[in-house]
Amino acid sequence: MYLTIDGIEKSFLTEKKDRLKVLDNINLNVEKGSFVSIVGPSGCGKSTLLYLIAGLDKADQGEIRVAGNLVKKPGPERVVVFQEAGLFPWLTVLENVTYGLLLKKMTKEQAEQKAREVLKMVHLSKYVDSYPHQLSGGMKQRVSIARALVMEPDILLMDEPFSALDEQTRMVLHKELLEIWRKTKVTIFFVTHNIREAVLLSEQVVVFATRPGKIKEIITVPTMKDGIMPDGVTLHTEQKILSILEEELEKVLKEEMGDDYSFKTNHLHRGDSGDMGSHI
């Protein structure tokens, strides 16, 4: 196994000094070159898990290994694409992308050449000398992906990278991300709250339960050789995940709105053909 997460526990201190358990005994194995998504209600600890893998945070118990090496601190072999692009506004696009390479003691020429290649892959060749504020949200996120890819990481950690984008931009970036994934064979660990996004992109979807966060179910998304799935199959997988999540959603909503709230009475989804054996 490439990425192994073994018995991870993590709690935070609340304002009242109580211990709030966010991750409870997480065990997960991810194979090299695979695309795994984590979905779950907000606050279920999925981003926390990603930060732990990145080494930005420390677990209370358990260990995480990438390619056999214990994760102790952040490292360029496990780069993160954050929800906000997080580009440095005082650097140009090219300088932003070469930032990590120069830290790896690469010469400036080599770094720039490599950065240009990757920027070409995300279709931003024209904007190498622009400053981040001159780019649209989607372009910024592309730069952020380029900045991560240029490091040739073992694993690409993505923390809701498209959730701040508009629908059309998101669709385009989904397609591009899949192309990049097939081309580079990079392992992707993708955190999202968008079920459709998870099903569209990944091979495996890990569904998280909340309070405390733990793995509820791991679903393998049926994929075709060419990667294009019939809509019906996708929809079916989506609904399966949604029904698993429904219980969790209710738990969250009850906590937020009080116990008299019932979510079950108005279902979120309905079978497309009146349940006449359509799920067989």
């Binding site: 930005l56 952040p74 440095f88 930032y99 504020h133």
Partner: protein, 215 residues
Amino acid sequence: MLDTLVNGLINGQITTAIGKSLGRILLGFSIAIVVGLVLGYFIWRYKMVEDTLGFVVTALQSIPSIVWFPLAIIWFGLNDMAILFIVTIGATWTMTVNATSGFKNVPPLYQRVAKVYGSGGFHFIRTVILPASVPQLISGLRIAWAFSWRALMAGELLGGGGGLGQLLEMGRSLGQMDLVISVMIIIAIIGTIVDNVVFSRLERSVEVKWGLRAR
């Protein structure tokens, strides 16, 4: 009066004084920037320093720098060093306070990004913390400059040293009102030039580069 102003500029009386004053403030101001940045760094970085020194700095900042003058005279004598001291001290605390809040306001996202890419130590300070706090540092510089400029004039007025302040005092004792007013005009002009040309331009160029302001 205009005659005095023009003559003073030509025959060197006012020009030398300007040179002396500017030299002094540049030195004092530079020291203040360095000290302010270093103190700001420690206050930002270590909680214990913040609890102790941070509080003291806030208190010190509220002391007008000319108040330090009697102390400075005792320490250094009535000379250049005493003036330099109050010029520096006038700018240091403001610079410290601004540097601290500038460093504190660096978005955690930038810091996380830098960490992920393996930055740390001095590289982290140089490539993330300092550039990310530049807008705030510039406004700090601006206020610090204003403070030290005032301190310089007050110091020279009392302590001599051949600058514009001393010229002012000389004009007073000779009863030469035209000289006094000429020097006042020069002081106003230099203050305005530095604020409007140097700092405003610096501020604008950063704002444009960062996209905080339309071109």
